[in-house]
Symmetry: none
Subunit: 203 residues, 4 copies
DNA sequence: CATGAATGAGCTTTCATTCAT
DNA sequence: AATGAATGAAAGCTCATTCAT
């Protein structure tokens, strides 16, 4: 079993993605070299092109695979819960929880993929839309149940809520000294969105 | 006509920044070529290096110049207003207003600068922090006046609010068909943050 | 046919050095273009960087490879000889002999490598020192045997002798019309060093 | 007299040469920038081209001016002396003495000018030949007087003698720890050439 | 005479991608 | 399927030189 690596034997596809994740997270997409991904994956440079069309394709595939994991994990977390208000809180906790547990994934999802025209214009980004629409669904559900106000457009709300969480993630990934925990951040953000900042309200 | 030289105009620094703005917005930083910026600025390639240390420096300078304009414009818009609740709404309107009126600037501020280590880790990004802290100040002011709830950390709120607006901008810049106006978006986002999504509240 | 690849031959390292030798000799190091070396070596520009770190490294490698050949050839020529007086003459003949048989090598060894800080200060130039020390050894040997005067510092003598030969080489390489042969030059130089210029002496 | 420098007023030619001397000695010809010479000379970049055709011309002019000084100094030193044997010693002492007193000049004369085809092939180098021929004249004079052996070709001797001194200079300029003085070196080199290395001779 | 901003050709070097084995 | 040596286009940057003022 001399040369084979941790992974059983033939799933080079996964080995390459694993390597790409580390390299992209460390250096950023443009500064990453295909040959470094190959080296880390214990694979020849040329082998990468048997599994991926080009360097962009690695990033996009990585994004989709990881996004799917995030979506799965999120749906699992939301599964038992009926109250859309609580669901938003769970969304926030799960989203930010991922930043801690899978920091490299977070760095790439945040930064690399929304990076530039190449990825946000040309590439339609189905998974991301799917992720955003989970929020929209929750809001719509709440509105149908009369629990959330009907005069807020769910398409606006989903982006506002996601944006708030995402900006927090960026901060979390980049900063070193932080005065609050991710749980606190998640709670405060969901509280903001649910109850608002105005003072004269019960929570 | 003080500084003019062989070339008619003279204010090459600005011409280069203007050109860079367009090129970066269209192609993204990494895919932009210095020579294209030069061409668009009607300037020789080498001239760029009389005004900027390197390609990175162009982006950073562009960011700081434009960010300063945004801050100035914002402070002007906030000048007459005393109520922090209204200030948040003005912030949202101004921020999103800029996306429409200066779309290219918006694209760069959003995408390029939050990009990656090169710009968010190494480069401290004073102007961005300054911008964020305008939100924090408004929130703190509201808290001191008893108008905004005291149990929300202004450092979290500022990022949540900015993130919500920024995500909306990204959507605005990238999408072509939109079902709502920017004014609507601004109002809905500030309403979300002030009054929350919960249904059982007066506005 | 072990290593061969797309290209017929395979021994690109040597092909590049051969090409570099010609180009450097013709144009001088600074005026030589890596792309011209590549063209002459029938190799792509990038290929050069698989074998050498940079342009400097080509020169240094060339120097060391050729210097080693010179040293080997010299030691072979000195092998059978016991008399240090005769050894100096052989050294001179071999050194100048090389100038004729490998003129391009001579041009580079002479001119490029003694050039300037980049190559004589930063790069320690082991091979050259080794070459010089062959002279010193011969002198010391002669002194021990009582054949050569003891009041001449071998470290001075080695440089004087080498310098005399080297200057002759420079002349030989650069001039076109010469009034004497290299053998004559070698003999006269070694005679100068052994017997001196003074008239009242037996040879 | 605000801006004018040490030199009286208009001899920018000299100021440029002085600056070039320092810059070339420090960085080497190819790594020296015309603009740095200009800066050091307190002169605009363009001004240099009023006095010199191009960068090469600065080096060549510098060479000729300095070589002339060396020749003048040498002829002065040789003036009173009639004995060609003593003249050779004076030549050696003067040549090496210059290395100490005008190290920068030495570095350039040695290294930069003999550097490459550009300067030794294309440029005929009259002054250098003149300098060499002083040695040849001394040798011929000695031969006519019967003091030096007639079977040594003065054209070979001149190069051998110069080469020995030059190599010593190179060593002197480049090395930091030396086990002998320049005077010793000069004496030993001239003794070598006069009396030879052979042991069985009176000095 | 003097200036120095502007030029732009031309350099080295990188690296995604290919393809003969 | 896998390799990895080879490719070569492409890019950022430098700097000798010019010329309008």
């Amino acid at each position: 079993m001399a040369k084979s690596s941790r992974n059983s034997k033939g799933d080079k596809y996964q080995k390459i993605l694993d390597a790409a994740l580390k390299v992209f997270a460390k250096k950023g997409f443009y500064s990453s070299k295909v040959s470094e991904i190959a080296r880390l994956a214990n694979v020849a440079d040329g082998t990468i092109y048997l599994y991926f069309r080009n360097k962009d394709d690695i990033l996009i595939s990585l994004f989709e695979v990881e996004m799917q994991k995030v979506i799965d994990r999120l749906e699992e977390a939301l599964a038992g819960e009926g109250d859309p208000r609580r669901k938003l809180e769970i969304f926030a906790l799960t989203h930010l929880g991922m930043v801690d547990s899978r920091r490299e994934v977070a760095e790439i999802l945040q930064v690399e993929v929304r990076q530039s025209s190449k990825f946000m214009k040309d590439y339609h980004n189905e998974k991301f839309i799917q992720y955003l629409n989970i929020i929209a669904s929750i809001v719509e559900e709440g509105q149908r149940q009369g629990l959330l106000r009907a005069d807020i457009n769910p398409d606006i709300a989903k982006r506002a809520f996601f944006g708030a969480l995402d900006e927090m993630s960026v901060y979390w990934v980049l900063s070193t000294k932080r005065s609050f925990s991710l749980e606190t951040a998640a709670q405060q953000i969901s509280r903001c969105f649910l109850s608002g900042l105005l003072a004269d309200k019960a929570d």
